[in-house]
Symmetry: C2
Amino acid sequence: MVKQVRAARTRQALIRAAAEAFAHDGYARASLPAISKRAGVSAGALHFHFPSKDALAGEIESAAARTVEEMTERCRSTDGSALGVLVAGIRQLVVAFAADPVMRAGFTLGGDPGRDGGATVLESWHGWVRDVVVQAQQAGELTEGLSPDCVAGAVVAATVGFEVLGSRERDWLSKERMVEFWTCLLPRLATVPGGDLARVLEAEPTGDRGTETTMAGL
Amino acid sequence: MVKQVRAARTRQALIRAAAEAFAHDGYARASLPAISKRAGVSAGALHFHFPSKDALAGEIESAAARTVEEMTERCRSTDGSALGVLVAGIRQLVVAFAADPVMRAGFTLGGDPGRDGGATVLESWHGWVRDVVVQAQQAGELTEGLSPDCVAGAVVAATVGFEVLGSRERDWLSKERMVEFWTCLLPRLATVPGGDLARVLEAEPTGDRGTETTMAGL
């Protein structure tokens, strides 16, 4: 049992170290020896858990996609307006970007030309955003004349853009910047008053599981 | 003279081939032999023009930054509303992304973790967008309560996001998608009527130099 716990910890340390190395050096440049050194484990331990760099990257993408799904699943299960659910989801993504190297690497690997395939996290995020925006439209929350595809595209492109810009200049991912950005943008897209959106965005996440606040919960 | 023309052509072919290779394989994976082969020149000719892969990447970033400056300089020199100038600039960037691998690679290299430094194109684009948005605010064109930094951040993050998403799935950079996106978003940010913005976005670029259309020109 102790052995299993240790193995799980080593695995987690390797995933985290690989995520940091990929984000810092890019997939192609990051080396397995550097990753095992960063994780504080032997090369043999690395190879026991992951046969290749591709396997590590795949695990990071799966982990990030799972986080997106769990995160958005929680947003979906709370009640309140669809736009409120979208805001809560964006807020959670921003918190996760700032706090979790695995999430950052999961998104970055999807756009890293040094690696083939693997846009699963992006697809998962885009699919969820589109679903929620369609729900918002059906509930009459979207500003008249706006297409859900367009709003979803704007949200996804902006979140991806912030992640890329944030990898160069951390300030792009700061809470202040995010609150300012979405508070200014979202009220233009929705009939929900801007003040409430700002309060949802500014709310601190509750515990490790991130914020579950919705518009209705305030 | 003939020799100089040929040398300039070889140089251009190498820059284009390198841009395509970087966009396709990422900076770290792209190899000099593959680039010279793609350009149809010898390894010796490549080394005569560019001593290293870094020199090639630097040349691409400089070329893309020059294109952004020339493009935006032309937008700035025409008259019309500041928001119209911004729309024309975005339109030109989109056309350039779709048509010019050097522009795409210039932006991608700025966010490629496989390469250090080199966010010049992004900085140049961000600086211009911010200037124009500030002018729009001073001219009373911005929707009340919107901060110029926020609007500029939204435009830059979205353009970067579209480029990243477009490198995976070309449809993100299609003209239809771009027109839909900016037509839906910009009227929310500005007091200028949406119909005119749509016409500027839909206008075909004139010749190789891209569209010089502004709101006032319609």
